[in-house]
Amino acid sequence: MTMEAVYLGFVLMLSIFLGFELISKVPATLHTPLMSGANAISGITVVGAITSAGAGLSDWATVLGAIAVFFAMVNVVGGYMVTDRMLGMFKKKEAPVKDQV
């Protein structure tokens, strides 16, 4: 158990550092999509929910897991779709149309 905790601690620490490195380079323009995209990633908890709901544990764990699958899926599907919708609106200026000068 102790080795396991140490190993998980390593994973945790390295991912936090990596997260800081990745995110601090995102410009202010993209902060909202970044937030909703990152939020969709937090729906990864669906993986844990699937295990609780389908591993044939006690009835109670199955019910809790199923509700968790529902909420996590709302988070994942909604989060990714809304992020995609937002990002689709960010457009570069189209080729110069100022030919009236």
Binding site: L22, L30, P33, G48
Partner: protein, 468 residues
């Protein structure tokens, strides 16, 4: 599928998540980044479904399909102006999911763990490490869930968006925390009571979330939203520790870090510390210097004449633009000005609006190209050469008192120095002050003209002049 193979696929999914986040750092590649990240999610879900542990798919299928439909419909239907509320709700659903996973983990007895908590009919044995992580994931998940619901209520004005605090708020929060801690410790002392104690922890965490967000008012929302975003990641991460799943830990902590960075950026943009935002609010205890002077109103016709002659114009949007849904007329005016030969840009303060990057999204919705959006430092460097700055529903973020008046509650907050532009138009409904309740000397400035009325109607009137 063997545990090793699943582990390998999880590593692959983690790489994709990281790559997806990396691509989110430029508008040109962001769409692809988001797709890669969602593909990573799909991979992680599929490989989990294929694992040997899963023996019953019925519940999963029903819940997953229902969740996907709800999420998809919500994402399709939401208006861009409703984005802060939507993000708050998604945060909340992530939080409650992590809480439930943590709770369910109580029932995953694993003989490999050293059992320190005695087997009971209510809850089979879990190790002390697992128990602690279960309690943490319940705590963070619960706070995220109820906190997000309150944030949603405030943003959608279902409840008052002003700072609301109960008498003895701090005492109650402290009491709540102590009770939480006591229940958590008791789980180890009295393993037979595990289930009631865990339920007590859930209830207390939910109350804690409500009490944490209630006292935070409208203009501090960007901080709260990004903090809750961070919590939703940390909750997933704690749930991952509880069920011993590495992909949850990696993805959760990436999100946790992202939220903390955004929170930090928002706090810096207001020149306040996080604890100051969370525990005090803008209470104008110090009396700001009273501003006296004469306000010079201007009509849409006269505004048109000045804009028509301008060769550089900067639009400064704020929450008022979102309320008036004026982003489309703003873009239309911008295009007319450009056609007229003026250089147009949009200057955005980091905390304008109700979530980080709120204004950028609204302007993007109105088809403003992202290369015309400039950040605060860039515009301040050349603001003296700007002919006209048009302030649309922004107040505190352009208030020169932040720079000059040491008694002002917002003193020290970086602002967009619109008062240094040659002319400033302020679009406002009335002379009411902004969220912070501070007088704005900008309105009395020599070069300031007030264009009273609804921002959308005022701008439409100016546009009508242009078209004649």
């Amino acid at each position: 599928m063997s545990a090793e193979l699943i582990g390998a696929v999880y590593i692959f999914a983690a790489i994709l998540f990281i790559f997806g986040l990396k691509l989110l750092s430029s508008p040109a590649t962001a769409v692809r980044g988001n797709l890669i990240s969602s593909f990573a999610m799909l991979v992680a879900v599929l490989v989990t479904l294929a694992s040997n542990e899963i023996i019953d798919y019925r519940w999963i299928a029903v819940a997953a399909v229902a969740g996907a439909i709800v999420g998809a419909v919500a994402a399709r239907r939401v208006a861009m102006t409703g984005m802060p509320e939507m993000v708050a709700l998604f945060n909340g659903s992530g939080g409650i999911a992590s809480l439930l996973v943590g709770w369910a983990a109580l029932y995953m007895s694993d003989s490999a763990h050293i059992s320190t908590v005695v087997d009971t009919p209510d809850a089979p044995a879990v190790s002390a490490f697992t128990m602690i992580t279960i309690l943490i994931s319940i705590l963070i998940g619960g706070v995220t869930f109820s906190g997000s619901l309150v944030a949603w209520g405030k943003l959608s004005e279902a409840i008052s968006s002003a700072a609301v605090s109960l008498p003895g708020q701090r005492f109650l929060s402290l009491f709540n925390l102590i009770a939480l801690l006591a229940c958590s410790v008791l789980v180890f002392v009295q393993p037979a009571w595990t289930l009631p104690l865990v339920i007590a922890v859930i209830v207390l965490s939910l109350i804690l979330g409500v009490m944490a967000v209630m006292p935070i008012g409208g203009a501090d929302m960007p901080v709260v939203i990004s903090l809750l975003n961070s919590y939703s990641g940390l909750a997933a991460c704690a749930a991952g520790l509880a069920i011993d799943n590495s992909i949850l830990i990696v993805a959760g902590s990436l999100v946790g870090a992202a939220g903390i960075i955004l929170t930090n950026i928002m706090c810096k943009a207001m020149n306040r510390s996080l604890s100051n935002v969370l525990f005090s609010g803008f209470t104008a205890t110090t009396q700001a210097t009273k501003v006296e002077g004469e306000v010079k109103p201007i009509s849409a016709d006269d505004a048109y004449l000045i804009l028509e002659a301008a060769s550089s114009v900067v639009m400064v949007p704020g929450y008022g633009m979102a309320v008036a849904q004026a982003q489309h007329v703003v873009r239309e005016l911008g295009e007319l000005l450009e056609a007229n030969g003026a250089e147009v840009s949009y200057a955005i303060h980091p905390v304008a609006g109700r979530m980080p990057g709120h204004m950028n999204v609204l302007l993007a919705e109105a088809n403003v190209p992202y290369d015309q959006l400039v950040e605060m430092e860039d515009i301040n460097r050349r603001i003296e050469n700007v002919d006209v700055a048009v302030v649309i529903g922004a107040n505190d973020v352009v208030n020169p008192a932040a720079r000059e008046d040491e008694n002002s509650p917002i003193y020290g907050m970086p602002i967009i120095n619109v008062d240094h532009a040659r002319t400033v138009f302020v679009l406002k409904r009335s002379m009411a002050s902004g969220f912070s309740g501070v007088d704005n000397p900008l309105f009395f400035g020599q070069n300031t003209r007030m264009l009273f009325g609804d921002a959308k109607q005022s701008l439409s009137a100016v546009i009508a002049q242009f078209k004649n």
